[in-house]
């Protein structure tokens, strides 16, 4: 069984986001970038399934500019076997990414495609579901537990009301929640070994997919600032303020 894992390069989750003064976006120059956190869970799960002898190959794929390849290299350092980098510059909407991934699926013919449930930059939460629609495959979103069975997966999903368990036939798409596992760190020897693993570069333009944006981001602004609060002297004053001033308890 072959697992394809899609990873995205995003601003590191610990970085304070700054909005550009001209309102065209957020500052990304000289900002620490990392793999989208739930994509790390997706890689970890695929590698664990391979280590358990239930998968034969884990392929990491990313779609984006030159430097996006770092995320693939990191995936290789924690156990993916080889990588694919679909090169494309500029803004990519989830619909375009899912169309590109569909082409990669056509070429690679994986049994499973894993990715994070959501990217922490645009917070869209769309790509996995869109890819599964385009392929007409079953989807298991927000996965917090995956059991591999014969030609099937049993997946526990995090839903608002609690947990839901579904069974999906392979081939299938799974989008991973943070609770799925604890991603490992890459060891130095494995980072060195990863440098020798192959990454295939494909130009998005060679895939025949129209990636032009459908949405216009007309403005990016800072959220309204909270007005400065007050310090209270003691607990009694705090409770009194909450009861009589804020009227929330």
């Amino acid at each position: 069984m072959k697992i394809l894992v899609a990873v995205k390069r995003v601003i590191d989750y610990n970085v304070q986001i700054r909005v550009k003064e001209d309102g065209t976006g957020v500052v990304t120059d000289n900002v620490k970038m990392s793999t989208n956190p739930p994509d790390d869970n997706a890689i970890e799960e695929a590698v664990k399934i391979k280590e358990a002898g239930k998968a034969t190959e884990v392929v990491a794929v990313t779609v984006g500019e030159e430097k996006a390849q770092e995320t693939v290299r990191k995936a290789l350092a924690v156990g993916a076997d080889r990588g694919i980098h679909v090169k494309v510059d500029g803004i990519l909407e989830p619909l375009a990414v899912s169309k590109i991934l569909q082409k990669i699926v056509d070429k690679e013919k994986p049994d499973l495609v894993f990715m994070g449930k959501q990217a922490i930059d645009d917070d869209c939460n769309q790509t996995g579901q869109m890819l599964s629609a385009l392929l007409n495959w079953p989807q298991a979103t927000f996965a917090s537990k995956i059991d591999v069975k014969d030609n099937k997966l049993e997946v526990t999903r995090e839903i608002d009301e609690g947990l839901e368990t579904i069974e999906i036939n392979i081939p299938a798409i799974v989008t991973c929640d943070l609770r799925l596992n604890e991603p490992r760190y890459a060891s130095l020897p494995n980072i060195m070994k990863a440098k020798k693993k192959p990454i295939e570069e494909i130009a998005a333009s060679d895939l025949g997919v129209d990636v032009s944006p459908r949405l216009e981001q007309t403005k990016v602004e800072e959220p309204p600032k909270r007005k400065a609060g007050i310090k209270v002297a003691n607990v009694a004053e705090l409770v009194q303020k909450l009861k009589n001033e804020a009227k929330v308890i």
Binding site: L95, Q129, A133, D160, G162, T165, P223, V235, I249
Partner: protein, 317 residues
């Protein structure tokens, strides 16, 4: 063309956020229709028809709709979509799971999790976990939009009498099988929707000490949250984590105890209506977003807080 709202329900009744989504949908266009897809969902359909903002209800019934599988829901809505300009749904796990599947079939770039309708084609949405707001204009002929329910008030729930029209079911998608749903049975409200959240951070020093938080949460009818530091330290399970990589919450009251206020935590709670910070470090960043800050040792402050709450005659639930 009218707007189509996808109702979220449990086959017996509407889920509350359907009312918030209806408000947002009616702001896009007052000609609002709503579709309800389920199994034996007539009561919920009737409830939907009573929302004054809804002009027509479309009801789709089938055994394969009982568990709200996106793979079964999407084809029905894609078919109905030819008569509508917008497809709208709440951005909770139901809508997040379903809408992109519809959008991809319609070849539409979805606008997720909007917090404001600026015009029928332009919306405001948070990005970077609310650290920036983006104004997005959709140039697609059909628009698929999900709505952050807590950013819109619920619509009136009675007084309407929209006609209910039956629509043919689609075929079953056989590669996905529902097994079970375990709803968290807790006397406490769910973290994502609670009116009050009491959260603890690394300052709690141990999992045992979280009982100080639990006690207050029980008294206030609040959900329990935690910072990533508290989760990483193993004080509490990660389904309680508030922050960019956990849950984003917008309660009426958020009480942060022993939480310094790391960027990624603030991203998950700073839209709360009233924020209280209790921390012994007066310089902690959490105080910069707090409406009421108390510089104190939490191990003294929390028992006092409980005492003060016990003195109150009434507590809003």
């Amino acid at each position: 063309m009218a707007v189509l709202l996808i109702a979220e329900h449990n086959n017996k009744e509407l889920r509350p956020f359907t009312l918030n989504a209806a408000t947002a949908a009616s702001q896009i266009d007052s000609d609002l229709h709503a579709v309800i897809i389920g199994q034996n969902s007539a009561d919920a359909a009737k409830q939907l028809s009573e929302l004054p903002v809804v002009k027509k209800v479309l009801s789709v019934e089938g055994a394969h709709y009982e568990n709200f599988t996106a793979e079964n829901f999407a084809p029905v809505i894609v078919k109905l979509a030819e008569n509508y300009s917008h497809i709208v749904c709440s951005a909770n796990t139901f809508g997040k799971n379903l809408m992109p599947r519809i959008a991809a079939h319609l070849d539409t770039s979805q606008v997720s999790d909007i917090i404001k309708v600026i015009s029928p084609d332009t919306f405001l949405r948070p990005i970077y976990a609310g650290n920036a707001f983006a104004t997005i204009k959709s140039n697609d002929a059909k628009k698929c939009v999900t709505i952050r329910p807590t950013s819109f008030d619920p619509c009136e729930s009675t007084g309407g009498s929209a006609p209910i029209e039956k629509v043919d079911a689609s075929e079953e998608f056989s590669n996905t099988k529902f097994i079970k749903r375990e709803e968290i049975k807790s006397d406490r409200p769910e973290l994502g929707t609670a009116r009050i959240v009491v959260s603890g951070g690394r300052g709690m020093q141990s999992g045992d000490n979280f009982k100080l938080i639990t006690e207050i949460a029980d008294k206030l009818g609040a959900a329990i949250g935690a910072s990533r530091a508290a989760v990483d330290a193993g004080y509490i399970s990660n389904d309680h984590q508030v922050g960019q990589t956990g849950k984003v919450v917008v309660p009426d009251l958020y009480i942060a105890v022993g939480i310094s206020g790391a960027i990624q935590h603030l991203a998950g709670m700073k839209e709360s209506k009233v924020i209280v910070a209790i921390n012994k470090d007066g310089e902690a960043p959490i105080f910069s977003v707090a409406d009421y800050g108390l510089e104190a040792d939490l191990f003294e402050a929390l028992p006092q807080f409980m005492e003060e709450l016990n003195k109150l005659n009434t507590i809003q639930k």
